[in-house]
């Protein structure tokens, strides 16, 4: 599958729950509907929690890639 182009990016490695989600949310608020935000999340709690919360806010996770000890998520603003 071809990589989805991101309009913005956040490196959230080392950022704890729920601040990582709050940062994601704040960033998404500055973006337009349909734009894509890329976030990099640590394995463990962040990857357990953040995707759920993003979905609860109504956004769509369009791509997930595991890169060693972290995950690269692409989120489309809804």
């Amino acid at each position: 599958m071809a990589d989805i182009k991101a309009d913005a990016s956040l490196d959230l490695r080392g950022i704890l729950c729920p601040i990582n989600f709050v940062k994601t949310k704040l960033k998404l608020e500055t973006m337009d509907v349909g734009q894509v935000l890329e976030v990099v999340l640590d394995d463990g709690e962040p990857i357990q929690n953040v995707p759920k919360s993003i979905k609860e806010e109504g956004h769509k996770i369009v791509e997930v890639k595991k890169e060693g000890e972290h995950f690269r998520l692409k989120i489309q603003k809804r």
Binding site: K52, K55, V64
Partner: protein
């Protein structure tokens, strides 16, 4: 034993004030909710707040009433989600109850009967919630509150397996569950569900990343459903996990797990049939957990078979 204690205390005090007869409605006292304090003539009055939820308008009025009747001007938040107005003079019971009635607030109960049900926030506003615990608590309060039993009978509702309302230590507990079901076609193998599952019930396939699900480890929390970006995990059915015979206190007893996926509409039948079994098999002064230890949990699960069939009986009745 508890009731007797309260009533004895009450009947021993002269029901006169300034030469006037003081009217105390003993039916109110018997149904409890008036608890003798260590201070002479003073009682704690426990209010009926199913699920620990109170309208703000009503709360304001309760506060005014508490301020009027509590000699110390204090309320205590009880461990079963009730408001207790402390330091109330028994001579003012009548007028207090009348004031409470005016705002539609009832007094709770003590003694051997079905107590006010407790409940967590549940699915109405808690993201983890799977069942509408507040609605269920309201229903139980309306239908079963005060039903006489051999001992106290406590019912609670938790919205999910985190079990904030502690169904394990209730006479009868209902805890929300959801059964996940997976659709292979839409799954992209992203592995998020295996990360989201805190029970190791999902392991990702080493090559495809797709989930390998172990129902024996699954506790039906729905984390996988909430986490999956492609909605490949879906809710097959929601329901209540049922626990029986738990208690707290000096000698806690962890409840027996007896049924899973009981639908909302079968909850009343579970309560009614359980109280029926208790009536047949229990003894005066004995909690239902004790009766289960004495008679055997199989007796109970067999009796409940017809209603537990609406979900899935837990075959071992294991603790």
């Amino acid at each position: 034993m508890v009731d007797k204690f309260i009533e004895d205390k009450v009947t021993r005090v002269p029901l006169k004030k300034d030469g006037q007869e003081v009217k105390v409605d003993f039916n109110d006292l018997k149904s409890g909710g008036f608890i003798k304090q260590r201070q002479k003539d003073l009682f704690a009055v426990r209010l009926r707040c199913p699920g620990g939820r109170i309208d703000t308008k009503k709360l304001i009025e309760i506060a005014k009433i508490a301020d009027k009747y509590s000699k110390k001007g204090v309320i205590h938040l009880s461990f079963r989600q009730s408001l207790e107005i402390l330091y109330v003079d028994y001579k003012e019971f009548d007028s207090l109850v009348r004031d409470l009635e005016k705002i539609g607030q009832k007094v709770a109960s003590c003694g051997p009967r079905v107590r006010v049900p407790t409940a967590c926030g549940g699915c109405e506003y808690n993201p983890n919630g799977l069942t509408d615990t507040q609605q269920m608590a309201k229903m139980v309060d309306e239908k079963y509150f005060g039903t006489p039993c051999y001992h106290k009978f406590k019912i609670s509702f938790s919205g999910c397996p985190i079990d904030c309302a502690r169904t394990r230590e209730m006479d009868l507990g209902f805890q929300g569950v959801v059964e996940p079901t997976w659709d292979e076609d839409t799954c992209t193998g992203c592995t998020i569900c295996s990360k989201a599952c805190k029970e190791d019930a999902i392991v990702s396939h080493p090559e495809t990343g797709k989930p390998i699900y172990d129902p024996l480890k699954c506790i039906y929390c729905g984390d996988c459903i909430r986490a999956c970006p492609t909605e490949s995990w879906q809710a097959k059915r929601y329901g209540h996990f049922v626990r029986i015979g738990g208690k707290h206190g000096r000698h806690p007893r962890e409840a027996n797990e007896v049924a899973n996926f009981i639908p909302n509409e079968k909850v009343p039948e579970v309560i009614e049939k359980t109280l029926e079994w208790y009536k047949i098999n229990g003894k005066k002064g004995e909690r239902i957990g004790k009766a289960i230890d004495r008679v055997g949990v199989e007796s109970y699960t067999k009796f409940m078979e017809s209603v537990f069939k609406s979900g899935e009986p837990v075959p071992t009745g294991k603790v």
